[in-house]
């Protein structure tokens, strides 16, 4: 890891305790930020790395409710561009269920999101024994977080405890280990040319406007688990055709991550893709809440610029008459990627009659407009 490419913000009691441990483990490789309303939590920490919320409101005491913490954070984070390194990755670590974590984390993530930073969160969910009130508070906070973060990973305290009797310090150690694992995951994603900051509509407009012909192909998330390099290649050849793999200029993998359990499989997939396509490969991670409803869990887009003739020879073809120029901004907003129908007649000679390819739908060939 390069220095200061990862900014880790610990929010509230849990967040700060975990980040303190991370600082000791990563030895300066991450840039820590400690945010709290409770001055006692951050007394012995470096002043440059601390943000005390509501100095003149709560006078260094903990926030009394989520709403209070939220208001204080909104006031404080109006001007924090210096905290965000656009080249890096911004991770918020917070425990949900308390007041500060639940109130401040959404505000900070939203601010990072608005400033164009990559907002990711590692959050803890309270255990059952902590009470229904805390769980509900965590759920409400999570809803707000998911709408403003590019990626959020959840750690269940219940699962961490695993039924064993351990001390608070022991639990924090375990939590730190889990967070470390998640940071490594995020780092791998970040390094695998993964574009988190994708705006779906903008991305789509870009592809269409730049005459990038898109051939989306989706696979189910369950299939990812059994992916190996060879089988991935086989599946792609089978569905897209070897010619397309050869001539395509850019390959995008677009994924949205529904839960933490699948992220390991996802990284495996992205790594295999990276190996397979090397320099022409990009992956886009879209968080569940930001992804369009009808976007498949994992989809590949094979893009080619101005190579219509080549595509027609490939196993997949384009829709005849499909001219990217005809897409206006307004149309693109309402358009999904043109769903490409897998060719029905692979391996067979095109049915040509009087110079016309009969394998192309008649209404398209004849240019008949059907309302």
């Amino acid at each position: 890891m390069k220095d200061h490419q990862i900014v880790v913000a610990g929010i509230g009691g849990t967040g700060i305790e975990v980040v303190k441990r991370l600082v000791a483990i990563y030895e300066g490789k991450i840039k820590p930020i400690f945010v709290d309303t409770d001055i006692r939590q951050i007394t012995f920490l470096c002043e440059d790395e601390c943000i005390i919320l509501g100095k003149h409101h709560t006078y260094g005491f903990p926030a009394s409710s989520v709403e209070v913490a939220q208001v204080l954070a909104e006031e404080e984070f109006k001007n924090i561009p210096s905290l965000i390194d656009s080249q890096g990755i911004f991770i918020v670590v917070a425990g949900l269920g308390g007041n500060t974590g639940s109130g401040v984390a959404p505000v900070l993530l939203k601010r990072v999101f608005e400033l164009g930073g990559l907002s990711t969160a590692i959050l803890t969910i309270p255990a059952q024994f902590e009470g229904e009130a805390k769980i509900q508070k965590a759920k409400r906070a999570l809803q707000r977080i998911q709408s403003v973060s590019h990626l959020s990973l959840l750690i269940s305290i219940q699962k961490l405890l695993g039924g064993s009797n351990i001390s608070i310090m022991g639990l924090l150690d375990r939590l730190t280990e889990a967070v470390m694992l998640d940071i490594d995951i995020l780092w791998s994603l970040f390094n695998s040319k993964c574009i988190f900051k994708v705006n779906w509509n903008e991305f789509r407009t870009h592809l269409l406007k730049n005459r990038l012909i898109c051939l989306p192909f989706s696979i189910s998330l369950a299939d990812i688990k059994s992916f190996k390099a060879d089988s991935l290649l086989d599946i792609l050849i089978q569905n897209v055709g070897s010619k397309m793999l050869e001539i395509c200029e850019t390959v995008f993998t677009i994924v949205h991550i529904p839960d933490r359990g699948e992220i390991h499989d996802l990284i495996k997939l992205l790594e295999e893709c990276k190996k397979l396509f090397n320099h022409k490969y990009y992956s886009c991670c879209i968080s569940e809440s930001l992804a369009p409803i009808n976007l498949p869990k994992v989809s590949f887009i094979f893009a080619i610029k101005d190579r219509i003739d080549d595509i027609e020879e490939a196993t997949y073809g384009i829709r005849p008459g499909q001219d990217p120029e005809r897409y206006t901004e307004e149309m693109v907003q309402s358009l999904e990627f043109e769903k490409y129908i897998k060719e029905l007649f692979p391996l067979s000679v095109p049915s040509v009659y009087d110079g016309q390819n009969l394998d192309i739908p008649t209404y398209l060939r004849k240019g008949v407009k059907i309302e």
Binding site: L344, T362, K366
Partner: protein, 416 residues
């Protein structure tokens, strides 16, 4: 345990289609074929009626034959195979010989030379004959159906019509039969077979155009005065209609196929959908009915136009099939509004096919998609009666079985 029939006459028809592989076993009883076994399998190795994956196609054929064998309780070792697909053409060839003013006494050799010359004109390079018909001799202006040897003539001519298929199509099917240690009794053009199943002799005499639209290809044959006047195969079929729907709606091919069926079923039977899974398809059909019908109509109209154009190329006069008109058969003939479209394009009466009934299990096969395999049985029986197809003698069969038993594929067949 299946029995190897020696004293009963069995005909097995095999159609390796684009959507299904169908085999029908018929037994000749009282000078009529009677169906005793049916086998069906999904077809996966065929596109546009051409075999693209021999291994899968072989497995499908094996599965279909095994089912038919089980039902008929016989061992199938000989089949009549249907042939369709691009490259199949209908041609006629004529030859004549002029002799000295005194004339020449005609011998058998003279007739053979004439026939050979006529047939050479018909057969393109790398094509084999699927079917041929001899239209008689013209001896000094007199039309004769029989050879007249010993007579003196100044000018003799003859005419043949034949359906030919590319050798590659036949070779692929032969290869599959070889793998399964099956003897091919004959190859018959699917269009001719379908016409045999859906038309009567009177209709063929009066003039009828039969269009057999399958999943991968459309075959057509035109009969007039009981003679084949034109035939052909276009590599466009029901799968193209499915593709059009899938492209238009942006849905998967599987769903498009279900939509196509639902679209046609509504008009045919006006049946309700009780199945919840079909509800979604039904909703799509209801919401897009007019557009979908237009998409489908454009394709059907195009298919009809191509057939009409082919007839025009063959210099067929329109009035020779106006009496009976057009008969539509094949699985995709049930597509919505096909009758109306064909009526507009050809300008003659159009009706859907009704398969000629004959004894046995044919009631189960009274659907247009079975016209070809049933017609194969009928056509094969007729050709056997005429002596065009000849079954192997007992000794030949014994020798073949002995040879087959030594082949590795035979062991595999037994194992499976």
């Amino acid at each position: 345990m299946p029995i190897r029939m020696t004293n009963r006459e069995i005909i097995t028809a095999l159609e390796i289609g684009t959507s299904k592989v169908c085999s029908i076993v018929a037994e000749i009883k009282d000078h009529r074929p009677s169906i005793i076994g049916i086998g069906q399998s999904i077809s996966q190795g065929v596109r546009k009626s051409n075999i693209v994956d021999k291994r899968i196609a072989t497995l499908n054929v094996r599965h279909s034959l095994a089912e038919a064998e089980q039902m008929a309780n016989v061992v199938i070792d000989e089949v009549v195979v249907a042939v369709a697909g691009s490259g199949i053409s209908w041609k006629w060839g004529a030859s004549f010989k002029e002799y000295s003013p005194k004339g020449k006494i005609l011998s058998n050799e003279d007739y053979d030379d004439l026939s050979r010359e006529a047939l050479d004109q018909i057969r393109p390079i790398d094509h084999v004959e699927l079917w041929k018909d001899w239209l008689g001799y013209d001896i000094d202006g007199k039309n004769l159906k029989e050879k007249v040897t010993g007579a003196r003539a100044k000018r003799v001519s003859t005419k043949y019509v034949a359906i030919t298929a590319p050798s590659a199509i036949i070779d692929e099917k032969k290869a599959i039969m070889d793998r399964l240690s099956l003897h091919v009794l004959g190859f018959i053009f699917s269009g001719v077979a379908a016409a045999a199943a859906v038309t009567s002799e009177i209709q063929r005499d009066l003039g009828v155009l039969v269009i057999d639209i399958g999943a991968g290809s459309t075959n057509f044959v035109l009969y007039h005065k009981k003679l084949l006047q034109a035939a052909g195969s276009i590599p466009v079929g029901g799968d193209h209609i499915t593709l059009d729907i899938a492209t238009y709606l942006g849905v998967s091919l599987e769903k498009a196929e279900r939509i196509k069926i639902a679209l046609s079923r509504n008009l045919n039977e006006n049946s309700k959908v009780d199945n919840l899974d079909e509800n979604e398809v039904w909703q799509i059909v209801t919401m897009n009915r007019i557009s979908l019908e237009k998409v489908v109509a454009l394709r059907l109209e195009e298919i009809c136009e191509i057939v009409k154009n082919e007839l025009k190329k063959a210099e067929i006069k329109h009035d020779i099939y106006t009496n009976i008109g057009v008969i539509l058969t094949g699985g995709a003939s049930q597509t919505v509004k096909f009758n109306d479209i064909a009526k507009i394009v050809f300008g003659v009466p159009v009706r859907r096919s009704k398969i000629i009934s004959f004894p046995g299990l044919s009631d189960h096969l009274n659907c247009p998609e079975f016209a070809t395999p049933i017609g194969l049985i009928l056509e094969a029986y007729n050709l056997l009666q005429q002596g065009v197809l000849v079954k192997d003698s007992s000794f030949q069969r014994l020798w073949r079985e002995l040879k087959d038993s030594l082949r590795p594929s035979s062991f595999l067949k037994r194992l499976t």
